[in-house]
Structures are given as C-alpha cells and as structure tokens.
C-alpha cells in the first residue's frame, strides 16, 4: 500500500529569517567572546573577563544590576515568542480556476497589476499600491480637477479587475487620491 504526501504549497508565510539571523548572530558573537575569554585565561593571558564573570556572579539577587536587566531580557524573550507564533500573511493569493493545478499570484505581482491598471485610467498621473493584510491600498496622484470622480472611477475599475482574477480571499480595494501640484 502506498501513501502519498501532499506537496508543499507554492505560497508561503514569512520564514522569520531576519529575527533568526539577528538572534543567531548575537548568540554567535557571545559564544565567540566566551571562547576567546576562556582560551585567553587558560593560556596564561588576561583573566579580566573571567574576573568580570566572577564579579557579576557575586552580585546579590536583589541588586538592581541583577533584576532590571533580567526584566529587559524577559521582554526580549516575549518578543521572540510573539514573532515566532504570529503566522504572518501568505506571500501570494491563490487563483481559483478549473483544473488541478495550484496557482497563486504573488503579492508583488498583484501590486504591479494594480499599479499598472490604475495608470491606464484617464486622469491618473501616478499610482502606488501597497498590500496590508486583506486590503489593497492604491495611492493615486492626479492633476485632474474632478479628483473625486477619478477616485470613484479607479475604485470601480480596480475592483472589477480584481474580481476578474478569481482570487481566493481577494483583497478589498481602497483608493486614496491626492492632487498633484507641479
């Protein structure tokens, strides 16, 4: 009897590489410093670092030098756990279509798609899209006098375009318009 494992989805949640890199580098620097201090002391060099460790260990528990840094370190621990447990947004939106293929439009692709379509609308002179959660915000700049009309038009057309993509959990469209001056 054969069992089949499911494939990894082509869309991913954030891999938390940046916090992992920071923590790994900080710990690596601490361990290099520890090894260096230990080897220096063992080979008859300076024992200043070891004396520092002995001095710190002799601090009473009630000393502010002991528990105030501890509270800060505990807060860093909380931040690390929150960073690890918050799943974050997928990097792509699944496209509903007929067929067995898993298809997903990348967030960067959707951003370009919205900007490109906004720039094709009469009255729009600049367009910048950003995706936050399930909302797509498009900031458009216009020299047109009827900016509210332009805004309505952009909103309507982009909503139609996004609907035509057949995205699963399609983002809501929000348009902010500003009047350009020279």
């Amino acid at each position: 009897m054969s069992t089949r494992t499911t494939r990894r989805s082509i869309r991913r949640r954030p891999s938390r590489s940046v916090p992992a890199l920071i923590v790994a580098l900080v710990l690596l620097m601490a361990s290099v410093a520890g090894v260096w201090a230990g080897i220096t002391a063992l080979t008859g060099g300076s024992t200043a670092a070891i004396e520092g460790v002995t001095g710190a260990a002799g601090t009473p528990w009630s000393s502010q030098a002991a528990y105030i840094p501890s509270i800060a370190v505990a807060l860093i621990g909380v931040v690390l756990i929150i960073t690890a447990l918050i799943p974050g947004h997928h990097n792509a939106h699944l496209v509903n279509h007929e067929g067995a293929t898993e298809a997903a439009l990348t967030r960067r692709g959707l951003k370009t798609y919205l900007e490109d379509h906004a720039m094709g609308i009469d009255g729009v002179d600049s367009a910048r899209a950003s995706l936050k959660g399930r909302q797509a915000s498009i900031r458009i700049g216009t020299y047109a006098l009827d900016r509210h009309e332009v805004e309505k038009d952009v909103h309507q057309r982009l909503r139609n375009r996004v609907d035509s993509l057949h995205l699963e959990n399609a983002p809501r469209i929000r348009v902010n318009t500003s009047t350009l001056k020279d």
Binding site: W61, H97, A104
Partner: protein
C-alpha cells in the same frame, strides 16, 4: 519556489524566547523577593540578599569558569553557525530521474535540469508569458512540478494558468508517458513598458 527554514526558525525562536523568559523571569522574581521561602521540586529559592553564585576567588575557579566558557561557547557557536547556514534558501530539487521501461530491460538516467529547462522553454512560448522558471521535485514516477511565470498585467490569469497546465501535462504525457503528480504555478506580473505609439483603452471605453 525555493524552500526556506521557516519552521526551524519559528521553533528555535520559541525555544530561545522561552529560555530567556524562564531564566530572566526567575532571576527577576528572586531579586524582587517574590519567591522567598518557596520550595520547588526540593529546591528552596535563595534569599534575595544572597549573591547569585558564591564563587571563591582562586586559580582553580578561574580555570573551571574558563573551561566552561570555552566548551559552552563552542557548542553554542556550532548551533548558531548551523542555524545561520539553514537560512540559505534550498531548491530541494529531484536527483537524477530514472526512467525504466515497463519490462525492466533498460534504465535511462536524466538530469532534472534538462527537463526543467525544456518545460520553461515550452511555457515561455505561450502567449502573455515572458519568463518561466521550473523546479522538478520528487521522482520520475510522481514528478512534482513548480513553475514560476512572469506575465503582463493585461493577461487573463485563469486562462494563462489553464494554458500552462495544459501545455505541461500534454508535453509530459508525450515525453515521459505520464502526467505530473502535482503542479504549482506561481504568477508574477511585470509592468509593460509604455510606448509613445501605444494606446490604452479601458474596458468600458472599448464598448463605446
């Protein structure tokens, strides 16, 4: 398309966070006198005025601390280096594809890169696709194919996906005699450079 160490990072960030919270939390609790007089699993919490560690100031202690620092530093440093190396995104592609004839008389070994390039080239021939990159994972028996395509913002995405799916399935059926066990298509959109001579018509204006 490449695999990253997301799960590993989350597990180690959680473990590091828990160690920091436990260690620092206990230190702060003792320092603030919250654990005074309490006994946990046979260990009595130290008084808040006691030193954290009462180490004698002699050469033997210095040697012990130095040795502990070296050993702990090497172990921790190795873990950190491995964690840093795990951050490099991995392709996890298929090893050589072994094509066996039904009667077990011969074996053909094929580098997956050849098939990946061939699929990418064929997909790039499709309308509205400017670039395609393919990764094959798994085996010849059950190939798992992931394609990243770059299309334009004026393409109809569901039909582009259908074209890609049809092309890959058809080609694999012809060449390997089987369809992919699974197929994933990641779509990227690249904006089209506007030419002075081009005219863009919106959907509603096209009807008028």
């Amino acid at each position: 398309m490449r695999h990253t160490a997301g799960r590993l990072n989350r597990v180690w960030l959680t473990i590091t966070g828990l160690i920091l919270i436990l260690g620092a939390g206990i230190t702060a609790a003792i320092g603030l006198g919250l654990l005074e007089g309490h006994t946990v699993a046979g260990f009595r919490a130290p008084d808040r005025d006691q030193p954290i560690l009462d180490l004698p100031d002699d050469p033997a202690t210095t040697t012990t601390i130095a040795t502990v620092l070296v050993v702990a530093g090497i172990i921790l440093g190795l873990f950190c280096v491995l964690w840093l190396l795990a951050q490099v995104p991995r392709k996890h592609g298929a090893s050589d594809l072994k094509l066996q004839d039904p009667e077990n008389r011969g074996l053909t070994v094929m580098k997956p890169g050849l098939l990946e390039d061939a699929i990418s080239d064929r997909v790039e021939e499709l309308e509205n696709i400017s670039k395609a990159t393919t990764i094959i994972r798994g085996s010849f028996r059950a190939p798992d194919i992931t394609v990243r395509i770059t299309t334009t913002s004026h393409a109809d995405l569901p039909s582009v996906v259908a074209d890609v799916e049809h092309r890959i399935k058809h080609d694999l059926r012809l060449t390997l005699g089987r369809e992919p066990a699974s197929l994933g298509v990641a779509i990227d959109v690249k904006d089209e450079p506007k030419k002075e001579s081009s005219v863009t018509l919106g959907a509603s204006s096209a009807h008028t």
